[in-house]
Amino acid sequence: MKIEDDQPDSGQSGGPAGPPQRTAAHELERYGALFARRTQVMRSSAMRDLMAVTARPEVISLSGGLPDTTTFPPESFAGLMARLAHQESAAALQYGPTEGHLAVRECVVEVMAAEGMRIEADDALMTTGGQQVIDLVCKTLIDPGDVIIAEAPTYPGAVPTFCSYEADVVQIDMDADGMRIDVLERTLDTLAAEGRAPKFIYTIPSFHNPAGVTMSLERRRRLVQIAAERELLVLEDNPYGMLRFEGEPHPTLYSLDDASFVIYLGTFSKILAPGIRVGWTVAPRPVMEKMNLGKQGVDLCSSSLTQKFVSTYFADGRWRDYVTSLSAIYRDRRDVMLEALAEHFPAEATWTRPEGGLFLWATLPDYIDTTDLLARALRDNVAFVPGRAAYMDGRGGSEMRLNFSGVGDQEIREGIRRIGKVIQEQVELYSTITGAGPTGPAARRPQPAVSEPVVEARVVPLRQRRAGGR
């Protein structure tokens, strides 16, 4: 055996003749020194790596946010593409205006009218999915350290966007009626006392992702009122509004506002298909103009091809039938999931009962960590989204998001059975370790509320600012 000298010998690469290679340590230093400060808050996570395993075919994934695109008839798809190729080939293959093609913006007018909102085609800015709206709003409004108010839990996909703009995110607890407006008001007062005003309030009022709850009409009215009183913008993210299974629809925040303080985010992802990446925003004019400029810098324009796919599809006039058929499918799947939860989850677990959308939110006993539970569940080939993904302040450790739109009835039943089994295993093991009596599976009751708040809202400064910069 031999011990290598500690002195680097940079002259001898040991490799074959060829172009000089930069070494691992140098690569690290080189890139590390070039990275922008904001990359330090772009976090990877063990969870994201665990999620990579969920893509394997043998895994029943209740983790995605996937609409069921298998329900869109392939022959319709082929027919639409053929028509598009014959009628608008050159334009579909060409760049388009940053704000989007007029024909698709007219579709937006139609969709928004179906949810009780009146706009004109000129009011909409087409985007590359709804996700781009979140990015453009942050790009337009957020300087490092600015405050964004979000729900607790919030849409996990918004978290990396908020992080990359170095926002301080304050999360407001929810209950069965959505964001707790009383908590919001107290939080705004606290922030005001510190001389900090949030730039915007991010909310998914209908069939919340991930919580599965819907904001009551009273709270919607009050939220819009607060925004006007305090001159705050509200980003209303409404991808699921048309996927209502039961109950009366509530007006959108946008329709309750006089177009002064609500930025509306819409998307064709859940009412048509996410693969086309077509979303839109309607915002107060000065905000919209800045977002348009921001978009020019990002991608000049969204895909002409897929925008024209949407307008060709809408020309048939059957889009509402498709949404109705999707809602019926998702309603049945939700029911299957609720039944399976009642059968297989232990007595200590609670979950929401969504009236629409794609998700429900389950809360387990506080000693169960759902990130670890996912690792265990993956051994049984089933996946969900651990709750921490939906918080920026470390909460959500015992919570999970379950999706019921992406897989069929049998897989939902089997997936919930498997998750229930690993939860029960952990409950029993914990009882054994702590000496508490074991608890059996529950006699059933769905719980309408999101988890009991321990802390109502917290301002969590970003890590590297706390550490004093890079």
Partner: protein, 321 residues
Amino acid sequence: MSRVALLKGGHSLERQVSLKSAARVEDALERLGHEVVDIDVGADLVQRLSAAAPDVAFVAMHGRDGEDGTVQELLELIGTPFTGPGPYACQRCWDKVLTKRALVEAGIPTPPFHAFSQTAFRELGAALALPAIEQRLEFPLVIKPASQGSALGIKFARTAADVPGCLLTAFSYDTKVLLERHVDGDDLSVSILDGPEGPTALPVVQAIPHPDDDFYDFVARYEIGRTTFACPADLPPGVTERAQRMALEAYELLGCHGFARVDIMLERRSGDLFVIEVNAIPGLTETSLLPQAADAAGISFDALIGRMLDTALARSPIARA
């Protein structure tokens, strides 16, 4: 030049890490002029290996199957030479309890520990033994699954109240867990690389975690910029050599082959060194420690990969058994 089957991915929780390692290895193998057949390991592994008929397999898998000896058993069975250790060494490194028992028997320092299976708790009333163990090992305790890489499932218990939750976490990753005395000090790693002159200890790498991070965890390991590294580590006189010798002893004790990485803690208060674990198939990503150590020894990434391959080819499948 050789036809190399690059085994990657698989079912393990460290699949992503494996894919990152493999991507770098593939580039290096191609630069070295080898023909690479990359195989994302699944149910068709044997079939794909038979079809590819490689001269050698490069095992760039981490975690279950790749690091626990399963794939190595198969490779032996079909007579394909492969990089890294054989099945027995893999099993002894993968199971930290086996590793630590072997170290203790050989007199190589490792932090005091106790191991439990789920059965011990479920059927044999092990919970009653916890207070005595907590008293013996003292807080904070490190509680971890017996197997699993990349620090997955490892937690600190600062008080007795933390222990049940930490055990539950560890049991999420394995049916066997261990409670270990926490060594407060510096995280060192010594990589060993085999060659014509026998195994060589490379310069010591010290991982210096971000001030906000509790310890060198999964995120810290694989995210550029999360952790800074000192290589060669700036250590008190004699420590580097002691760490390297200790690493070589552990490597040989466990029957490793080709390469390995030995993780060591340097205790702040005593200056003593403790072997924490031995990684039979260490990561080869941009932030991994073995490539950094090789780099500090003047061995480029390509040369490192070339040497791993040469060592594998120099060993016949019969010699492994």
